[in-house]
Symmetry: D2
Subunit: 357 residues, 4 copies
């Protein structure tokens, strides 16, 4: 179950403190130009260690493409990818070898499998997300062929929300904030958490534009269904909203409906999809991340043999996983839309007749 996607399938492997993290991208159409600089740049956007607001673990994160690309073009065969782990400090984890971190996957992995790689969270570590970002970069190369754009940014930190959304600004912001006027307050909130040996939650906002009408495969691989699966599957995500989201549960139909004119919809409360199929409007998603569970305050916990103890954690952790998480969420959205684009190609006999002339 380490694979997702239907026509564009991503399978990942690797742990935080093993030799590295990798993936196979299967189903990429052939003859797409592979811009390696762009891909490396996407990976770099996810990097930690760059400033005060992220983990101090700094990795080179150089992508190796092991297969599927020939003379700079995709061949239609599976693309193998590997990214070495360099800066893993396993000794940081010696003390918690037999302990569970509260609200961390340590507990459930150990109980499910009867064994765990305790070093850095092993497979449950956010380190795995580098494979998602690498895959997402390939998906973006595909989407670029159709001028489809995917963007993300930080909408909220600890409840401090942006007002004026600016995805371009998020590209420059150290915390990927969407609002230059709110950014400073959001930074202060993160520093406050950090100084208290604590962490803080946050919200990423995603936007996909220039989407063809018709993407999404009802009834069980709807666009919103796939978004729900991949966003709630990200580490630390506890809620997902599409379009008007939570707000839509509080209002009347006449307030929430998007009326239609011959030049498009008068509003976009739907967030770009109806009945799980894209309606041509912008796809708008909010992804809510909990605070990093690995904090440096003392916490009650138990050992693997169920003895009570106090956890005093060391190591290097992001004070707010939403920040780097937003890049991962953006990558997932690219992958979903790319997959839906491929799937839709056989939905209508008219499309097939264009292919098999």
């Amino acid at each position: 179950m380490n694979t997702f996607g239907e026509r564009l399938k991503i399978s990942t492997f690797g742990e935080s403190h093993g030799s590295g993290v990798g993936c196979i991208i299967d189903g990429m159409p052939s003859n797409i130009k592979v811009d390696l600089g762009f891909i490396q740049n996407e990976i770099n956007r996810r990097k930690g260690g760059l400033n005060l607001y992220s983990t101090q673990r700094k990795e080179d994160d150089i992508i190796e493409i092991l297969s599927g690309v020939f003379e700079e073009y995709t061949t239609g065969t599976p693309i193998g990818i590997f990214i070495k782990n360099g800066n893993a400090k396993s000794s940081d984890y010696d003390d918690i070898k037999d302990l569970f971190r509260p609200s961390h996957a340590d507990f459930t992995y150990f109980h499910k499998y009867g064994i765990r790689d305790y070093r850095g969270g092993g497979r449950s570590s956010a380190r795995e997300s580098i494979a998602r970002v690498a895959s997402g970069a390939f998906a973006k190369l595909l989407l670029n062929e159709f001028d489809i754009k995917i963007k993300s940014g930080i909408y909220s930190i600890g409840g401090i929300e942006c007002n004026n959304i600016n995805f371009d600004y998020a590209m420059e912001s150290e915390i990927k904030s969407l609002d230059i006027d709110i950014e400073e307050k959001q930074k202060e909130m993160i520093m406050k958490a950090k100084q208290n040996h604590d962490s803080i939650g946050g919200v990423a906002l995603l936007c996909a534009s220039n989407i063809p009408i018709g993407l999404g495969e009802p009834l069980y691989y709807k666009l919103d269904s796939a978004i729900g699966a991949l966003m709630l599957g990200l580490n630390g995500v506890k809620a997902v909203e599409i379009g008007n989201g939570v707000e839509s549960s509080k209002i009347f139909g006449s307030q929430n409906n998007d009326e239609i004119t011959n030049s498009g919809f008068l509003s976009n409360n739907s967030g770009g999809m109806l009945g799980g199929i894209s309606n041509g409007d912008k796809i708008i998603i909010k992804v809510h991340f909990k605070p990093t569970p690995s904090i440096f305050k003392s916490q009650k916990t138990t050992t693997t043999t169920n003895k009570e103890t106090i956890l005093n954690l060391k190591g290097r952790h992001d004070p707010c996983i939403a920040i780097r998480g937003s890049i991962v969420a953006e990558s997932m959205l690219a992958l979903i839309i790319a997959d839906m684009l491929l799937l839709n190609a056989s939905s209508n006999i008219k499309y097939l007749k264009q292919i098999y002339k």
Copy 2:
């Protein structure tokens, strides 16, 4: 893409105004006693036409089991199910044959497929959810063997939230409200919407208890991932929260973490799962439904040939889809947990050794 589940697979078919709705349940273990009365009762819980707060379309909804059950026990072969449509009034839809209802799947189905069954929304109708409830009832038969319980109720209508959650009360409430003291206000909100030819949004709360530790298949069929997929795939759902949900994005790690003692967790902000695997605590989910898009107020829309016009809808629609939707969501949760229970059976060599002695 009309199938979901990995070991317990559900495939559905049927439209609102066709001959009926059906499904295949594949992967049910053999030798489970099939209590037909229980299954019919589950289907009846979803029924409309029972009171002022739901659609006036009243169906018999008698389930026919076409295969997979022999002398009252499951045989391990696929269970075919069919429920006839009886009370379909297709003529209600003649007027909107060439129109799109704002915020309804009419628009996207027509554009994706170049054809649509306009009668009652066709495949996009909530009528399909009867197959989900029937399947969910079978899942509950399986879960009952392990004393796993799934419950649901209405948490909020138009922003009016319950305070004292009582799942037993929801079983009696006409609007499935979780709080006897709030129910009346919630009913008033629905009647207000109805009188204004409008509709209203709402929130369902789900709870699954007595869950074994270890359910969920990381990394791409995590428990939360499957919940995200199936809940956001329900008609009208625009947001899903797990455990502390949206709230967790606003607070500190020290506030959100669930400390551990040798008798369990001190809180359940995680909503019963860590790293996508059940932690043994209650699974808690909030599902946010938008207001029914089919309202009786005049709305701007276009025809299928993109001419602007005004829609004045007739027909029979739920004023608040969250109410009957809560039963569907509950069924989906039962199906997810049942699937995870089967999948987990091969996670550990220790389990296999218990089987193949």
Copy 3:
């Protein structure tokens, strides 16, 4: 695991002596004209009870289309199909309720599931194949849009092989023989088996023509791989050959290779595929059926409680399952090629650019 196909997915249900057999066809492109007469005719080609060479069980086999078709066109939504069982004589099976038929699935179903529907073989009965033929008929409607033709016939009965292959003649032949000059000897072989209360094996030959180059998804859903899966999955099939098949294991490369000219291949030992991808030449398949295991001679067997006994079978069985099996095999080939046609639509960015202009 009662589903097959990747983009065109078929899920079946139903048993020999239950209420009927049905299926869901998922992934049919929209806007294909549904010729119900053609579909019923395909189902009729599989029928028993028509002459001395098949089972005496005679069924009406009227297809009901329950969904997915609107005003004679496919809508892109799942097509539900049901065919009632009419002429089931369950009493025929009372005597073998607790016995296993040698070389029949009775034995393994009982041991796997701990329960079986003993009436007519239950789920393991060839009766299920009617759903395959119905699905195959839909696949043919799709293939017809591209002038792809699928044919079948009986190549051999009890080792008596045809010389002059004529697929048109097989359409008229009572035993679907491919050779008018050999047919009589083949019929005699069947009658000999029948008179001896025995059964006889046979071989079906399949041919698909006008196949676009490029169908097949390497490496694990190659064209030959899918053919292997679906043909060896048919009841009673014990060997499958592609192109030169068994013979190719006996000869030299220079004898087996198909040389290439600018007007095509000089031979077709490959049977129309290379590396699991169609090469544009005819697809040629041989499917070897064992003799019907249900024979009327006395045989040693055991009871479900492992007591030795002698089986003296009654009932109505085909003396040679290859005959009706050939129609099922033909249907499976249609389904495979249709699925591959859909899958291939996203293999190359050039195709996608034709769709998303």
Copy 4:
């Protein structure tokens, strides 16, 4: 489509002359001891360059395990594997850059994808099979826990068949022959082909023993169905037989049926499965390989721009792919049975009750 298996999923990547070949093994139960020496030994059994009867390309073929194993035990997370290509001579292929080899996948890959990695056949090369053997070795570690054994050998070369089957002898034989008395004649046949710049076909025999009754998931992931898919998906395989295979199509039911006693079946014409489910007897499979298409005789062919020409091939190729292919086929059988073992764990409520006590 570079993934196979349902619970034990294998995804492969890599080309003949790229950086290497790798795979992800997903679904291995946790807590299985990983004997790296055994795995490397399995890989070595497939190696070329060891004697006159195989390709002269000699590779180190050292396996790297990149993830999923911790302190010598499987953790339940995906196992990443990589094997570097060392001895690739791409210059051998410069001459055929724009040519197609008759009966080789060159032709179809180019036409399907509009691009191909011509070096050594790229993805279509048998080099990929090293990932299958590595995966199969892991499957065997799982099967060993239940004393299930998988064996293979060469049954026939160019029509010269073994009489006295001895799987132990095949382990020592340079050509993996099953019969010490026939081996020499088989070797002569290979040398004859080689001296004539030609190649020769052959047949592998597979045997799996100590199989629990009940493996196989009807109706579309039957044991025979999975065998058909994976064997016919191997490079050069043109026919597959199960048990009595082709022979069973020539005889009477009374000759082919396996009668039952309370100590087992009186014969094994079924090859260990009935209705696609294992019956507890030995699984017996014959896999027919065509001769290597890459021969050194002159052959007619065309260029990628469809001009006629003569191909005079250079390079290093196996004169008989059946030999090394037999090891790959054996690995595939191990993978199928392992997958079926995992899948069967949820077939019966009785098994689940043993797990979730």
